[in-house]
């Protein structure tokens, strides 16, 4: 296998805001958390913002224990709201967003619903430099074709009042991901990239299965996966068909 070209983390730090949006379940949180960890490891000053107001579970605030050892700076809603249906930002969030000197990594909620909740901070974000990454898993509903991706992209841009600057290819079927599946995802996204003039910044893969992105001609971000609410099952015990 060829040596993967890894993304240059320090080059990402040239922007004040790195925003991660996309369809619900596209992998935004895993990407944002992993980038924050890599920046921490490279001693780049960064703050991770949990701004997901859509999902009831598997947000950054739900995996704090798992990522505790990395000592990340995290801004997230009060813990008391974790198992309540209260989509609220912490009162100090504007101050934190306006703080200078740190790269601010924003994990926003999925779909236009999630993206819409950051439109209120548009003035702060637009007065600084930002990259808005649109995370795509072409094995998820509503982003499996070029047309669906473009429609989804427009809806998220419209809701957030911000322009997407890059795509991130995160096509996967969890433990059933293969190189063929990722390459099919790349082929679809490459066409979308051509039509929209939005470049593909990088491709993601589970760090234990990096072979699945072998040959994909964009830099790689290898992910340590934190969001695993239930243990995985092998193929045979996953299905009960005798009923």
């Amino acid at each position: 296998m060829e040596e993967l070209e890894k993304i240059n983390i320090s080059s990402l730090a040239g922007k004040e805001f790195l925003i991660f949006g996309g369809r619900i379940g596209s992998g935004k949180t895993e990407v944002a958390v992993n980038l924050a960890i890599k920046m921490k490891q490279q001693k780049i000053n960064s703050v991770l913002f949990d701004m997901d107001m859509v999902k009831p579970y598997v947000r950054i605030r739900d995996i704090k224990k798992q990522i505790n050892s990395y000592n990340l700076s995290i801004v997230s809603p009060p813990d008391i709201t974790r198992t309540l249906d209260l989509p609220i930002y912490p009162p100090y969030i504007i101050g934190s967003l306006m703080e200078k000197g740190a790269v601010k990594i924003l994990d926003i909620g999925g779909d236009p619903y999630g993206a819409g909740s950051i439109a209120q901070f548009r003035n702060i974000i637009e007065s600084c430099s930002y990259n808005f990454y649109f995370v795509i898993n072409s094995k998820r509903p509503e982003t499996s074709t070029e047309d669906e991706i473009i429609e989804s992209l427009k809806a998220v841009e419209h809701a957030s009042r911000l322009k997407v600057t890059h795509f991130i290819l995160n096509t996967n079927l969890r433990w059933e991901t293969t190189g063929k599946i990722v390459m099919e995802g790349y082929d679809i996204l490459k066409e979308v990239s051509g039509k929209t003039d939005i470049p593909i910044a990088f491709v993601c893969a589970d760090k234990n299965h990096e072979d699945v992105i072998d040959g994909v001609p964009v830099p790689a971000l290898l992910l340590e996966l934190f969001i695993k609410p239930l243990p995985e099952l092998s193929g045979s015990s996953n299905r009960k068909s005798s009923f």
């Binding site: 379940g25 009831p56 579970y57 094995k139 239930l230 243990p231 996953n238």
Partner: protein, 359 residues
């Protein structure tokens, strides 16, 4: 089978219902199952079917009742507090003998509780919930794929027995993403209106009447007996249970849904440590697979029931085991999901002959 996609349980049950020929969704939003109505709201208009957000759960279940009276495949989805509001409708649907599918994505309770996953509506789902001597078929899937497969079966059973079928899931099953592939679409163009449906007299020469009302006690008793006969038929023909590593098991874990899913890992971990554990997983929790427990009571040293409630299925397990072997229980409440490691720890202590935490 089609191409595999990555879906949340909440999305997969909606897509499966649509492919199974569900023509109408009525419901009211509640966390943690909002992805399901949201999915229906986009997909149903695409395929020319009905999505309607009702003004409340009470309205939604009565719309389901109405649609079911026409023999239309119809569904509603909700979570624990919303399901509580629907109980009167469930009881009317039962005594009216009309088919429908209801999904309960359970959350922590009682009362408003929280939005974390729980299994504390087992009694409500399997023992009635609403008033009167009635049952619904209650199915508890443990993976996204199984939930998608079972949705087709749920509509078939509902039509076959003219009964409400409940898919008993929890928030975690709804939110977790797994690879899933769907069965072929049911061709709704060939659907025939059932002879009992209230869709106009047509050429039958007489009206169909669907009602849960019977003023005379003797008449109502006949209706009740007919219901019980139907339940007997379902009990004899539609029980479904999965046994995992039970052939040589000395200890049987019993669990449903999410906990059963974790239990498979516990069985694997226990066997690595030389403890011969297996899992009995009721797929239908009503009708309950009591024969499986009767049979395994001859084989195992004890049963170890684990649930995300205070021991609700435990009572059915104890009734089925009928005192032949000890039945121990371990559970977490309020929306806490037990980990494989903590369950293994309890099992190890029991197998070693002592566990002070277990009742």
């Amino acid at each position: 089978m089609g191409e595999k996609v990555l879906m949340k349980g909440a999305e997969a049950i909606a897509e499966a219902a649509i492919r199974a020929g569900c023509m109408a969704f009525f419901g009211y939003p509640i966390t943690p199952q909002n992805e399901t109505p949201e999915y229906f709201s986009r997909r149903m208009p695409q395929v020319g079917r009905v999505f309607l957000q009702a003004e409340s759960e009470v309205a939604a279940i009565n719309m389901v009742y109405g649609a079911a009276c026409t023999g239309t495949r119809v569904i509603t989805t909700s979570s624990s507090p919303g399901i509580s509001l629907m109980q009167e409708g469930f009881s009317y649907i039962a005594n009216s003998n009309v088919p429908c599918v209801v999904v309960n994505v359970m959350r922590g309770g009682p009362g408003l509780g929280d939005i974390a996953p729980a299994q504390a509506d087992y009694n409500q789902a399997t023992k009635g919930g609403g008033h009167g001597d009635y049952h619904s078929i209650v199915i508890a899937p443990h993976t996204v794929q199984e939930a998608a497969d079972i949705m087709f079966k749920a509509f078939e059973l509902a039509d076959k027995y003219r009964i409400m079928v409940v898919m008993l899931m929890d928030g975690l099953m709804g939110q977790m993403m797994e690879p899933v592939e769907f069965r072929e679409w049911v061709d709704v163009k060939n659907n025939k209106v059932p002879v009992w449906a209230t869709v106009g007299q047509g050429e039958r020469g007489q009206r169909n009447i669907i009602t849960s009302l019977e003023i005379l006690a003797e008449g109502l008793e006949k209706m009740d007996i007919a219901l019980q006969e139907k339940y007997k038929e379902i009990k004899s023909g539609e029980v479904c249970c999965e046994e995992y590593m039970m052939d040589d098991a000395e200890y049987a874990i019993t669990a449903f849904g999410t906990v059963a899913r974790i239990s498979k890992t516990v069985v694997d971990l226990a066997r690595e440590r030389g403890i011969k554990a297996g899992l009995i997983r009721p797929v239908t929790v009503w009708p309950f697979p009591d024969k499986v427990f009767e049979k395994r009571a001859e084989q195992v040293k004890f049963f170890f029931d684990v649930e995300m409630n205070e021991g609700q299925m435990l009572l059915d397990v104890r009734l089925s085991v009928n005192g032949k072997k000890p039945v121990y229980y371990y559970g977490r409440l309020g929306g806490i999901v037990p980990s494989a490691e903590e369950m293994l720890g309890e099992l190890e202590k029991l197998a070693g002959g002592k566990n002070e935490n277990i009742i």
